[in-house]
């Protein structure tokens, strides 16, 4: 009889290479050299692994922190707000990726806002202008005759 050697999950101590590569791969766009961001790892006093996503110089403060406590992964921002927690690291890094402040996300918001403004202009303002133009055309001869 042979015993199947299941891979033992690492629930305390430093990050495993696999965990680290999962996190860094998910945050790869946020860690692009143009962003100026970097990352570091650390530990709590109880030996729980922590991953810090650091903002650009000069401050380099923590933007996001992923911690592993007893097989559970926590996602917090730099102010200690708990954003998400789960046993599945893949899910946690998905949330981390969405939580990273990004310029492209800002651009997307600006474009959406611009489209919304144009849509409002098109739907509300243009008919009003057309209506007033129509009224002017209708009433102008009468006003001219009256004058």
């Amino acid at each position: 009889m042979s015993v199947v050697a299941f891979e033992r999950k690492q629930y305390d101590g430093e990050w495993s290479e696999r965990e680290l590569s999962t996190i860094t791969a998910a945050l790869n766009p946020a860690l692009a050299p143009t962003t100026g961001r970097t990352w570091e790892t650390g530990m709590t006093e109880k030996g729980d692994a922590q991953f810090y996503l650091l903002g650009p110089l000069p401050d380099q403060s923590c933007e996001l922190c992923v911690s592993r406590i007893g097989g559970r992964y926590l996602l917090e921002d730099g102010s200690g707000r708990l954003l998400f927690e789960h046993r599945n690291l893949d899910l946690v890094v998905l949330h981390a990726r969405a939580a990273v402040p990004s310029t492209s996300w800002l651009m997307v918001r600006v474009i959406i806002l611009w489209c919304a403004i144009r849509s409002v202009l098109h739907e509300r303002i243009e008919p009003m202008l057309a209506e007033s133009e129509e009224l002017l055309v209708q009433w102008a001869p009468q006003l001219a005759a009256f004058a």
Binding site: E14, T38, W39, E40, T41, G42, M43, T44, E45, K46, D48, Q50, Y52, L54, L57, P58, D59, Q60, S61, C62, C65, S67, I69, L74, E76, G78, S79, G80, L82
Partner: protein, 110 residues
């Protein structure tokens, strides 16, 4: 305890550098906080519980020098460490906002 990817492990003071960078100062503040907590005989988990935090990971984040003590938590943090809140805030301001500290109090050291 810590593994840096792009930078060396923090030194107490960078030699020949007139103004220590923000990160270095935060780390010094974190070490000071860790010492005060040890003197208060509290673990990170104890302090987190007393501050109403669900996990102690944020305490570690601050003590490792990656984040600051949020202003809204300063009073409670000080009291749990048995320190006077104004003195605590003033001491942290020296690390977190050294220029503001210098303008307010005129000197860079305690």
């Amino acid at each position: 305890m810590k593994r840096g990817k792009h930078q060396d492990v923090f030194a107490e003071r960078l030699p020949g550098k007139a103004v220590p960078d923000a990160r270095q100062l935060r780390k010094t503040a974190g070490d000071w906080l860790k010492q005060r907590r040890a003197e208060a005989a509290l673990s990170q988990a104890d302090l987190a519980a007393r501050l109403g935090l669900k996990y102690y990971t944020f305490i570690s984040q601050v003590e490792n020098g990656f984040s600051r003590v949020p202003t809204e938590l300063m009073g409670a943090w000080a009291r749990e460490l048995g320190l006077e809140p104004a003195a605590f805030a003033r001491h942290l301001l020296m690390y977190y906002e050294p220029e503001l500290y210098r303008l307010l109090f005129g000197v860079e050291s305690k």
